[in-house]
């Protein structure tokens, strides 16, 4: 992690809550992290871990009745959770942009893609229609759309899924945001397309000096893209680490289990995969103590009663595990 630069985003103790008829559930709690300029941060977790809600709450786009239940999201010293809706609208798309999972449902089907990008540009910048059009064509070329000038007047349904996602990315970067949040940007795409979109994202953030938060369930995608990876489980960040050591020596037992549960291309086909027993907990039934203890092979008495504190390890990584110190030590010694 780049410790020297001042962070552009500083998230402190963020919580998301959903007041429902049966009581309020808190699917995200105590999430803190910082994002440095040009950092590529991955937030990895299974469905229900709260990773997408975290992303949406940064943009203040939580689906109703969800709301931010506490904490701060600081950007240049301003707390985004306290901004008025109008000020927030300027931040969205301007300073911070979002790329969604499903490009088809996030594009307007009855407007040409060119027009939609022009609109996006003109919302945040006072430029003439002609200038915006020229810039839109330039952007489409930049995201790898062949013959951008000719494709400018096409409708979303005339594109393949990968091309639509490229259009979405062009739109997201049109106002030159500092932070790009990509929420499962390749999940709806085929593998060949997925790899190329991830490569494209990497090139773009370098060229435009953006910081990226990549939300994904796919550890492989995170490995290919991120400098740092945060692993979420049951609404908490359970491990924070630079990408390389995380994949080589995971500290949190959940990270370790998740990595070994992946059906890898080089996996020995004659042995069973090391599956994680049980299911991830639902937000309304998070176990006492460490939320992972019912599925954890290393769990002991303390894990069932006491929520582990976020342990800072000597190498700067952190893990919410009672055994974090020992596990990290053991790994280093081995």
């Amino acid at each position: 992690m780049n410790e020297t630069a001042a962070p552009i985003l500083d998230v402190r103790d963020l919580a998301v809550e959903f007041p429902l008829s049966g009581g309020t559930i808190v699917p995200v709690r105590g999430v803190s992290f910082t994002l440095a300029p040009r950092q590529r941060l991955g937030i990895v977790g299974e469905s229900g871990s709260g990773k997408s809600l975290t992303a949406l709450s940064l943009m203040r786009l939580l689906p109703p009745p969800g709301r931010i239940g506490g904490g701060e999201v600081l950007m240049d010293g301003r707390d985004l959770t306290r901004l008025s809706e109008r000020e927030m609208a300027r931040v969205r798309g301007g300073r911070m942009a979002l790329v969604y999972q499903d490009p088809m449902s996030s594009l307007n089907p009855v407007q040409t893609v060119g027009r939609q990008i022009v609109e996006a540009i003109r919302t945040h910048e006072d430029v003439s229609r002609a200038a915006a059009r020229a810039r839109a064509i330039e952007l489409l070329g930049e995201v790898g759309l062949p013959q951008p000038a000719e494709r400018f007047d096409s409708y979303p349904h005339q594109f393949s899924g990968g091309m639509r996602q490229r259009v979405m990315i062009a739109m997201a970067i049109s106002a030159g945001p500092d932070v790009l949040i990509a929420d499962e940007p390749t999940t709806a795409l085929d593998v060949t397309t997925q790899a190329r979109i991830i490569d494209l994202l990497g090139r773009l953030v370098d060229q435009h000096d953006m910081a990226v938060i990549l939300i994904t369930h796919d550890l492989g995608v995170a490995a290919s893209f991120c400098d740092d990876v945060h692993v979420m489980y049951a609404g908490r960040i359970v491990e924070r680490s630079p990408a390389e050591p995380l994949f080589r020596q995971p500290v949190h037992p959940y990270t370790e289990a998740l990595l070994s549960a992946i059906c890898r291309l080089d996996f020995d086909v004659s042995t069973p995969i090391a599956a994680i027993p049980g299911q991830p907990p639902l937000p309304q039934a998070i176990p006492e103590g460490c939320p992972f203890h019912p599925r954890c092979p290393h769990a002991f008495g303390r894990c069932t009663v006491e929520v582990p504190a976020d342990t800072l390890l000597p190498d700067g990584r952190t893990a919410e595990c009672h055994l974090a110190g020992e596990r990290a030590g053991a790994e280093v010694a081995a």
Partner: protein, 356 residues
């Protein structure tokens, strides 16, 4: 096209241990009747599945693999071609005979929730096939079988009275598997059966499926877009692209010496949870093994893969559709220039194809 079929048929003798034989199977959907536009979802596909083994069918969305799976079970009618199940031409059966045959073949779908009736409890779902095929069973015997099946797929007997909405995705998928196995079929089609569940659950289900195969001697057709999962599950693998099988071979052949550029592209695209490996592969992909599809569902002349292929500008690829031909014993590829990934990359560099 017929030539390709001939080649395959000659090399795949109908030996007795083939449970399923697919011969020249095709399914076309009419897009616009007046304009005579058709989508060739499945186009002249032939292969055989050996008893007790798993045939993996891999391809991206729109490749026609799910349509093919449904054709095999006669859940959809083929436009042309035959499916032989244990020597029986499935298309020739009457509705009644077909229903009788159905207890020998079953399917598990992708979406764990949509494949269960939301108004039926787990028990009611699992016992339906028993009611249909073994109406003589007493309700106590049936209940015992349901318990046995729940145990087999790793669910508790207390789950019997639950409704699908009370279960997780992984649990629902286990119910689907229990339903499929309830009447002890020989052949099970797994249509993206683990694609909609989380990584940790996926591993559980894959292990379960392999264990059940060993225990019950099942034959699988394993359909997936995920090459690493297909590799783990299958003995023989067919790679589908736009309705056709473009490469067919054993697991070892396909992964140690792939020949079709599309297979190379798929292999290079799978994300690996290892940052170092990924960095090297990004460079590899930058050399352009496979291009993006530009527009959805366009009909192409010649080789259907040529618009995305690094060698696709060659005259022959644009004009002539390559048949599925033998490249080594029992290994087939539908490419005019089948070659290894390294030699393909060299050829592509030499070709210096202009972008677009």
């Amino acid at each position: 096209m017929t030539q390709a079929r001939g080649a395959v048929r000659a090399e795949l003798p109908e030996v007795a241990d083939d449970l399923v034989v697919v011969d020249g199977l095709a399914r076309h959907f009419a897009l616009d009747k007046r304009a005579n536009q058709v989508v060739r979802a499945v186009d002249d596909v032939s292969f055989a599945i050996r008893r007790g083994e798993t045939f993996g069918l891999v391809g991206e969305s729109g490749s026609g693999k799910s349509t093919l799976a449904r054709l095999l079970l006669r859940l959809d009618r083929p436009t042309a071609g035959r499916v032989l199940f244990d020597g029986i031409d499935v298309a020739s059966l009457s509705a009644r005979e077909l229903r009788k045959l159905r207890w020998r073949m079953q399917i598990v779908f992708q979406d764990p929730f949509a494949s269960l009736n939301r108004r039926r409890t787990v028990e009611q779902t699992i016992e339906l096939p028993l009611r249909v095929h073994q109406p003589q069973l007493k309700s106590a015997e049936r209940a015992a079988r349901v318990r046995e099946l729940l145990d087999l797929v790793g669910l508790r007997s207390s789950h019997a009275t639950a409704y699908p909405r009370e279960l997780s995705g992984g649990q629902c998928q286990r119910v689907s598997i229990a339903r499929a196995l309830s009447i002890r079929p020989e052949f099970v089609v797994l249509d993206e059966a683990v694609s909609a569940v989380d990584v940790s659950i996926q591993a559980q289900i894959l292990n379960l499926l392999r264990e059940l195969q060993g225990r019950l001697g099942l034959t699988y057709l394993f359909v997936s877009h995920d090459l690493s999962v297909v590799r783990y599950m299958s003995n023989t693998i067919g790679v589908m692209y736009h309705g056709k099988i473009v490469e067919l071979g054993s697991r070892e052949q396909l992964f140690s010496s792939p020949r079709h550029p599309y297979t190379h592209g798929l292999l290079a695209s799978i994300p690996v949870p290892d940052p170092e490996v990924e960095r090297a592969r990004e460079r590899e992909r930058a050399q352009g093994i496979v291009r993006d599809e530009v527009a959805a569902g366009a009909e192409v002349s010649g080789c259907r893969f040529h618009p995305r292929c690094p060698l696709g500008t060659r005259e022959r690829c644009r004009a002539v559709e390559p048949p599925l031909e033998l490249v080594e014993p029992e290994h087939y590829a539908a490419c005019h220039f089948p070659q290894s990934a390294e030699s393909l990359a060299r050829a592509a560099a030499a070709e210096a194809t202009p972008a677009g």
